[in-house]
Symmetry: C2
Subunit: 113 residues, 2 copies
């Protein structure tokens, strides 16, 4: 089962920031594969979604980049900036809190009519 794409909306930035905070530096393709593996294929980040997100995070100053070459093939590594390190904690907290709220909402019992 693959989650319908609408669910991913709004969580992608947080996922990326969290991965970067746990792994120091990662490149785009690595991020897609890591998420795919960790979620047993349930979350598949497409490149068309990932790269714009990474570029946006860079513009916001939350990540920095460095380019390496493996043979002739380019690799662009992304790392958290100091601002990014602060932000990731906030984002993860907010998402965790949101999920608590949603869990509550989904478990509600009928009103007494």
């Amino acid at each position: 089962m693959i989650y319908s794409s609408e669910l991913i909306k709004g969580t992608l930035k947080t996922i990326v920031l969290k991965l970067l905070s746990d792994n120091k530096k990662m490149y785009g393709y690595e991020i897609t594969q890591t998420v795919k593996e960790m979620t047993l294929d349930k979350i598949q980040i497409t490149e068309g979604a990932l790269y714009p997100t990474l570029h946006a995070l860079e513009e916001e100053g939350l990540v920095t980049t460095e380019t390496e070459y493996i043979g002739k093939r380019m690799r662009k590594y992304y790392s958290l900036s100091p601002t990014g390190k602060t932000r990731v904690k906030e984002k993860v907290k907010e998402l965790a809190s949101f999920m608590d709220t949603m869990t509550f909402l989904l478990d509600i019992k009928p009103k007494i009519a």
Copy 2:
């Protein structure tokens, strides 16, 4: 604290369907107020988001409507159709499963480098 709007994305339909499955029939304004109260103001569904969603659910055949008048003021009640009753269970399950996966992703420990 109000959750950043991007988090709501993708969950609105599920929230609405779930509320309808617990309350038999509800009208738009009631839905916004119920969500606001239940989440202690943390989730505020705007009318500009809700009404298009309700209309879409109706077009998809997941909800049916009936109009009532309280004095001269209109109320449009929404109820789950049989299809809707089936769908809401799937949607809630999927969202619950997605949140499990996200919880796991957010708790991951650093890789051994």
